[in-house]
Symmetry: C2
Subunit: 191 residues, 2 copies
DNA sequence: ACATATAAACTACATTTGTATAATATCTTG
DNA sequence: CAAGATATTATACAAATGTAGTTTATATGT
């Protein structure tokens, strides 16, 4: 099922999806993904089960939908807007913002990315890699390191960042963000 | 269910697990993970369904078991044995070996890591990150870059590599390994 | 080789999943 | 506001999932 674009959506449909996503987000904080059934989600959302299947093929697709929303919110929140900075400064600021973004809603993201639900982390990865790839293809980035393939770099760094974030979220006693970022700086050879 | 160690395992149990893992590996090449049922696996493996559940809680746990096997095989195959080389050379050789390892059984790994099954990629990630972390904690690595946290570096680089590998496997017209590796070299600041 | 332990098979059951069809309710458009 | 469009609900069903209890087959250790 192609998940329909939000734009030309009936009021009823938007409401249903909102309820379903919120229900899943709540339940994920309460117990692991595998132990949340479609029945549970529908009960919590007060939506009939057949309605669920009118919107999503299965539980995973709802999770994917949830994660896509998070990624969009993350990108909108974290990407610096002023184009004056140097590429290196831009990327470091973005990295710092991303960590702080995830730190703010720790429980939810931890639930979304952990064990069972991590399932769909590739969703986040795809979205983020695409975003970063477009960014690194811009002239200002190509200029400072013309010998680096933007696609390769994009997948490399999104994978690295998401892995770090997942590990950081899953830790019971997480390292301070500044410590992580000071390490991170050494891994980015770009000037 | 704690998946029992291979060591003290009955002959019957080893046979059953072998059949189940092979059945899943075969089916994953034929169709996507979501479309493979426990019933399918058991039919293919000629194992009763209740026996399946005596070994694994669900389909995902069997996949996890399969991936753990792959990771062990990968590590045993790819890590250079001679400790004479420089850390940089060691890591680059390991990276090259890993890519070649995945390239050899492209269809299977592609099936295991793609969309639905990617589900459990965190298994590979955990295993590999642990392995790399131990490696980077050795004195010879600490010596060349003492200011880098081995844990952070391990998660950073395993995430990066796995993301690259997943992307490379999923591509219909994959980039040449040498091209990838020449890019990779620029991302590893270690000497 | 035999006795014991235990894994696999068998049977049965409650729950969940995914789908189809018909009804009812609600939104959108003119 | 009214009419038509369509999303939601309701009901039913086949298949898959996960579990429990019992019987049969096979491996292990002496």
């Amino acid at each position: 099922m192609e998940i329909q674009k939000e734009n030309h959506l009936d009021l009823r449909q938007r409401k249903t999806r909102k309820l379903l996503v919120e229900a899943l987000a709540q339940l994920l904080v309460e117990r692991p993904y595998q132990e949340v059934s479609v029945v549970d989600i529908c009960r919590r959302a007060m939506v009939h089960r057949t309605t669920f299947y009118a919107h999503f093929n299965d539980k995973q697709e709802l999770l994917r939908y949830l994660l896509e929303g998070l990624e969009r919110e993350c990108a909108d929140t974290c990407l610096p807007q002023d184009p004056e900075r140097s590429p290196r400064e831009y990327l470091l600021t973005a990295g710092r913002n991303v960590f702080q973004f995830f730190a703010q809603r720790r429980e939810l993201y931890r639930a979304c990315l952990d064990s069972g639900a991590d399932a769909q982390a590739h969703t986040l990865e795809e979205c983020a890699a695409g975003e970063l790839c477009r960014l690194l293809s811009e002239p200002r980035f190509r200029a400072v390191s013309p010998q680096v393939d933007p696609q390769v770099a994009a997948h490399f760094y999104t994978g690295a960042m998401l892995s770090l974030i997942r590990w950081w979220l899953s830790s019971d006693d997480p390292l301070p963000i500044d410590y992580l970022l000071s390490n991170l700086e050494q891994f980015i050879p770009i000037q």
